[in-house]
């Protein structure tokens, strides 16, 4: 892998540069906008240089938007908390349910096993719209409408299939002999699962957990339809800056930046598990 010609090195760097610009320039621009007033953003042509303001962040964090009309209450920070709470608990529940299931599909060939695995996947492609109306009727019946528990349950639609199918692949990549050896050493099945299988599949669990966290975070239709205003995530909250009086691009930009931060922090934290992938390369049978 190391024998690259200078020409190829240049090509690689240019390609990487183009990719980074394509994917990161819009983010960069959103960050810039978050430090501008609406008036500064809406200039022709757009400008890179401006005198930055923190007013957008102040408004979001303090929960008060000072306008000519007066002060308006914003619930953005509460939305942020809802997103965090819903995504975190949903992913945790999905991990608790999904990792053992993924292990079962990877390690055991059992009757109906593949069918169960495919059923779990298929809930991912049941279009949310299709089930939302019956589901909201059902939730009304059993008292789950407008509860966090109900929402976390529905969020399993997003998280569970992703975790089951990604983690399953990683479990399959672990040499079964390592687990057999541990069993023969005198450890119970559960000890083997928690001390061998799970740690070795950690890069996969981290990747699946991170991705399902992101997908849960980005969802809005479930909470919108099934929850009241105090359970809305940041994706719905950020739309509050679009009103009849106009659209506050600066605040939307700041809202995006603020809503990215927790996920980014999680990604940075998960990163050390993600890169474990290589060091364990020798594991694969």
């Amino acid at each position: 892998m190391d024998h690259t010609s200078p020409l190829e090195t240049i090509f690689r760097r240019v390609a990487l540069g183009v990719i980074l610009v394509f994917f990161l320039f819009p983010i960069f621009w959103i960050v810039l906008m978050s430090f501008q007033t609406n008036e500064q953003i809406l200039r022709i042509p757009p400008r890179v240089f401006f005198s930055p303001t923190l007013s957008n962040y102040k408004a979001l964090i303090s929960g008060e938007l000072i306008t000519t009309v007066g002060s308006l209450k914003l619930t953005f920070m509460h939305n942020l908390w809802n997103s965090f709470f819903l995504s975190t608990t949903s992913v945790l529940v999905a991990l608790v349910l999904g990792v053992p299931a993924a292990y079962a599909f990877a390690r055991f060939k059992f009757r109906l096993g593949e069918d169960i695995a495919f059923t779990l996947l298929s809930i991912r492609f049941a279009p949310p719209l299709l089930i939302l109306l019956p589901l909201s009727l059902l939730f009304n019946e059993i008292g789950l409408s407008d509860t966090y528990i109900g929402l976390i349950w529905v969020y399993q639609l997003i998280c569970l299939p992703l975790i089951v199918w990604i983690v399953r692949g990683y479990f399959e990549d672990i040499s079964p002999d390592i687990e057999h050896a541990y069993r023969i050493d005198g450890h119970s099945w559960a000890q083997t699962f928690f001390r061998i299988a799970v740690p070795l599949a950690r890069p996969g669990i981290a990747a699946a957990g991170l991705l399902s966290f992101i997908f849960a975070w980005n969802n809005f239709v479930f909470a919108l339809i099934l929850g009241s205003a105090d359970k809305q995530p940041v994706t719905v909250g950020a739309l509050a800056f679009v009103t009849a009086a106009g659209i506050s691009y600066g605040q939307i930009a700041a809202a995006i930046v603020l809503s990215i931060l927790p996920t980014l922090a999680l990604a940075l934290y998960a990163q050390r598990y993600l890169v474990e992938g290589l060091s364990l390369g020798a594991v694969k049978g």
Binding site: H180, D185, H187, S188, L280, A282
Partner: protein, 370 residues
Amino acid sequence: MSGLELRHVRKAFGAHEVFPDLSLEVEHGEHVAIFGPSGCGKTLLLRLIAGIYDPDAGDILMDGRSILDLAPDRRGIGMAFQNFALYPHMSAFDNIASPLSAHGNSAPTEHVREIAGLLKIDHVLSHAPRALSNGQKQRTALARALVGEPKLLLLDDPLRNVDAKLRYEMRLELPKLLRGFDATVLYVTQDYKEAMALGHRIAVMSRGTIRQFGTPEEIYYQPADVEIARLFGDPTINLLQLQPEKSERGVHIRLSEVAVPLPDGDALPTGRECTVGLRPEVLAFVDADVPAAIPVTVEAETPLNEKVVSLVRTSCGHELLVSRPAGTPAPASGPAHIGVDPGRLLLFDPSSGDRIALQDAVSTRGGSTT
């Protein structure tokens, strides 16, 4: 009481039947080498014993008790895997200590150090498996299997993935090491020398059955069939398709028109071809005037360390390998004569490959070894 017993074990994967009906009885403390070509089910046999797989039928007993309803962790077995199967996220020390900690031994340090010392890996105990050389990995795996002092030790071709020098060393070292443990040992190998060196007895497996189970001598001198005869011995046994002839002095075969008498056998096949097995060391160069000397032409000669192997051709076209200790004189090429020790000649049924027992072959020659 036998240390390990398999009774009519059957195992199939789908339509593929690996063991139709397998039985084996191993004495307590005995070291048994399971020898056979790859794909014959050796590894599966160990896995059935370890409890990784359950047999479809039959029973497996240790010390007279069935262990089938015991989970792998309750069978008191130590096992070393061919691919080592070290825990990549634990240090060599923790790898070795794993069986001890599993049984609640809270202070395994001394024990681990002791066994690591025996295996000469005490200096790398803090390393992660990926930082170990193949030899060190193999010793770590072995240490892990031994450290719990299991009643039954299963070694799955542990020398397969190490280099030749190390394999040679370990082949000498291992029997000594195992003698220090009071364990019944099953040792899987594809290398007949390993099997001969390590097993009190050798079980030769082929296509899901145990073809022969006996001491190394039995396997060598009285192979159950032509295939086993071919697998053991280096250079390999000379196999000739000949038709024994009957005369007033008994039954004989002819090599270069010279009659070689066969000892009396139960139903010596005459009038049809059978396979004659002549190990290279059974043949020897002799002077032309020795009775029944067989004239041959020496085609080539290869020195093989302690012995020299010559390729000779009989007048009727059979090619034979002749082996002699290095340093003994012999013609390097051209015409020569060889002699045969008829008592050590092997005869196989040409269709089944089974050995045809010759009268008293072993009782007259028993005790003599290579």
